[in-house]
């Protein structure tokens, strides 16, 4: 049955703004993005919101709903208590363009910093082989829809303006997908430590908590990368071993 609900929506741009309150009808089965579209259609034609697929696959409609970073197209209205006022805000970490839309282009700049896949030389028979069980773990990382909720919730980027020192969980995930790939021949460990700032992550796992694709970002990507950095730079016995063997 339809019910009347109250929404507080951030309206504003880089020069400032305020919460606007809207009362609107919510039908059974609606998601938050449906409600935003209804508000847009009936009460605020100029309300800015970014969206595309409405199926949780394009990652466009990221926002903060009652303070939690979520996809508005995947947040059903029935998860809220009856009568609860719902607050909608743009993601905090990236510069505001207008209302619920932010400029996430910094992420694309980060993506360009990652060197592409560098294939190993072909085998003696001229073929390149990899085995399913060896790529299973990096295939998990391919589920990323680039919603940047993990980037938004990461406190290093969100609250400490650590963008100069830390690339964020999304791009450590991408680096992990290359670094762990059985056919990638590039040595990425030095830049993972120094350029992309793996040490800035204090593994508080908020990126994993908000991932709409349920990728175990911390356990399966960031911590394994940190362990590889330890292998190279911090393990005293391995360092000693390398001194004697001359290996990398």
């Amino acid at each position: 049955m339809s019910e009347q609900r109250t929404f507080r929506v951030w309206r504003g741009d880089k020069d400032g703004g305020e919460f606007a309150t809207y009362e609107t009808k919510v039908d059974p089965g609606m998601v938050v993005l449906d409600v935003i579209h209804r508000i847009q259609a009936e009460q605020a034609n100029d309300l800015a919101v970014r969206w595309n697929c409405k199926a949780g696959k394009c990652g466009s409609c990221s926002m903060e709903i009652n303070g939690k970073p979520r996809l508005s197209c995947m947040t059903r209205m029935n998860v809220f208590a009856p009568g609860e006022t719902i607050t909608l805000q743009p993601v905090k970490t990236f510069p505001l363009i207008r209302d619920l839309v932010t400029d996430v282009s910094w992420n694309y700049e980060q993506n360009q910093r990652v060197r592409p896949f560098k294939p190993k030389p072909r085998g003696a028979d001229g073929k390149m082989r990899m085995y399913q069980e060896d790529v299973d773990r990096v295939q998990e990382f391919r589920k990323c829809i680039e919603c940047y909720l993990c980037q938004n919730v990461c406190h290093v980027l969100r609250d400490r303006d650590g963008k100069a020192a830390f690339t964020g969980p999304r791009f450590l995930l991408r680096l992990a997908s290359l670094e762990m790939h059985p056919l990638d021949d590039d040595d990425r460990i030095p830049e993972i430590k120094d350029e992309f700032g793996s040490g800035m992550c204090n593994i508080t796992k908020c990126c994993t908590d908000v991932c709409p694709e349920h990728i175990k970002i911390t356990d399966n990507a960031i911590i394994p990368l940190k362990e590889r950095v330890v292998d190279r730079y911090y393990d005293p016995l391995k360092k000693l071993f390398r001194v004697f063997t001359g290996s990398k």
Binding site: E18, G67, P69, T87, H181, P182, N202, T218, E227, Y234
Partner: protein, 285 residues
């Protein structure tokens, strides 16, 4: 590396632990402070007692392995001399201001393992340092320059060495669990087989600690995760082990808390049985 505060443009609160979240996000860090704090206080107190850590055939995990015992001191609830690796003569170099407690020789190792554990780091960074206290919550220590684990926290990178010691504890505690089924010593020492509640308590303890230790992220890395090609088309042992360790690793948080609770409870159980406050139900009569 310099950090500065960001302006809030979307109506996000910026104050101490500020957040627009409407759920009770603060329960998790509060519980973490209470449970870890209580465990730390109890473990320290229990280590300083130096007594009532043994009730034949049960040995508290806080005191195992027994490196030395002080046979001259006639400690109530102390283990017999033959239980100690280096006998009953307490080392002469021991500082006079510290009690003769065998726990002091060993507790640093599991303590270091838990302190540097990737899961506990998440828990106490959130709960004790508020960095951040919850997801999408303003860090409580925001004014300081944040350097993550690149400065004095670099020591966390030595977690694998703490893990090596922790792994050694598992067979030792497993042996204690085995001994807990033999009152008076193993069969060739004239011991009598039986089962007591304490036997089950010690056995569950080593199972939970094993689940926690062998689900460690560093262990998972060293057992196979460090290699890009774990199978290369063959049914390798490292891939099989990595898959099994991964199962434990996915439950690392659960094992971390259950094993913490149970190891504390095991000490409490042995202590109270040793003091005669609790009666151990067993088949020995």
């Amino acid at each position: 590396m310099a950090t500065r505060d960001l302006p809030a443009l979307g109506g996000h609160p910026e104050g101490f632990a500020g957040s627009m979240r409407t759920d009770r996000w603060w329960i998790e860090p509060v519980l973490t402070v209470l449970v870890l704090g209580a465990f730390g206080v109890y473990a320290t107190w229990a280590a300083f007692q130096g007594n009532h850590y043994y009730a034949d055939p049960y040995l508290s995990p806080f005191y195992s392995p027994l490196i030395f015992v002080d046979s001259a001191a006639a400690v109530p609830g102390g283990a017999p001399e033959h239980h100690a690796w280096f006998g009953g003569h307490w080392p002469a170099w021991w500082p006079a201001f510290l009690p003769h407690s065998p726990a002091f020789f060993i507790l640093a190792f599991p303590g270091a393992f838990r302190f540097t554990c990737y899961y506990y780091r998440k828990a106490y960074y959130r709960a004790f340092t508020g960095s951040p206290p919850g997801c999408a919550v303003v860090p409580t220590a925001k004014s300081r320059r944040y350097k993550g684990e690149t400065a004095w926290l670099l020591f966390q990178n030595l977690h694998r060495y703490a893990m090596f010691f922790a792994v050694l504890f598992i067979p030792i505690l497993g042996y204690d669990a085995l001994l807990s089924f033999w009152k008076g010593g193993l069969p060739w020492d004239g011991g009598q087989f039986g089962i007591g509640v304490g036997s089950l308590v010690l056995t569950i303890n080593v199972i939970l600690l094993g689940g926690y230790t062998f689900g460690c992220h560093s262990f998972r890395h060293l057992i196979g995760g460090k290699d890009d090609c774990m199978s290369c088309g063959k049914a390798t042992m490292r891939l099989k082990l990595w898959k099994r360790v991964t199962i434990l690793n996915m439950k690392h948080q659960n094992f971390a808390w259950f094993s913490l609770f149970w190891v504390g409870f095991t000490d409490v159980y042995v202590r109270l049985v040793s003091q005669g406050i609790w009666t151990d139900l067993n088949t020995w009569g």
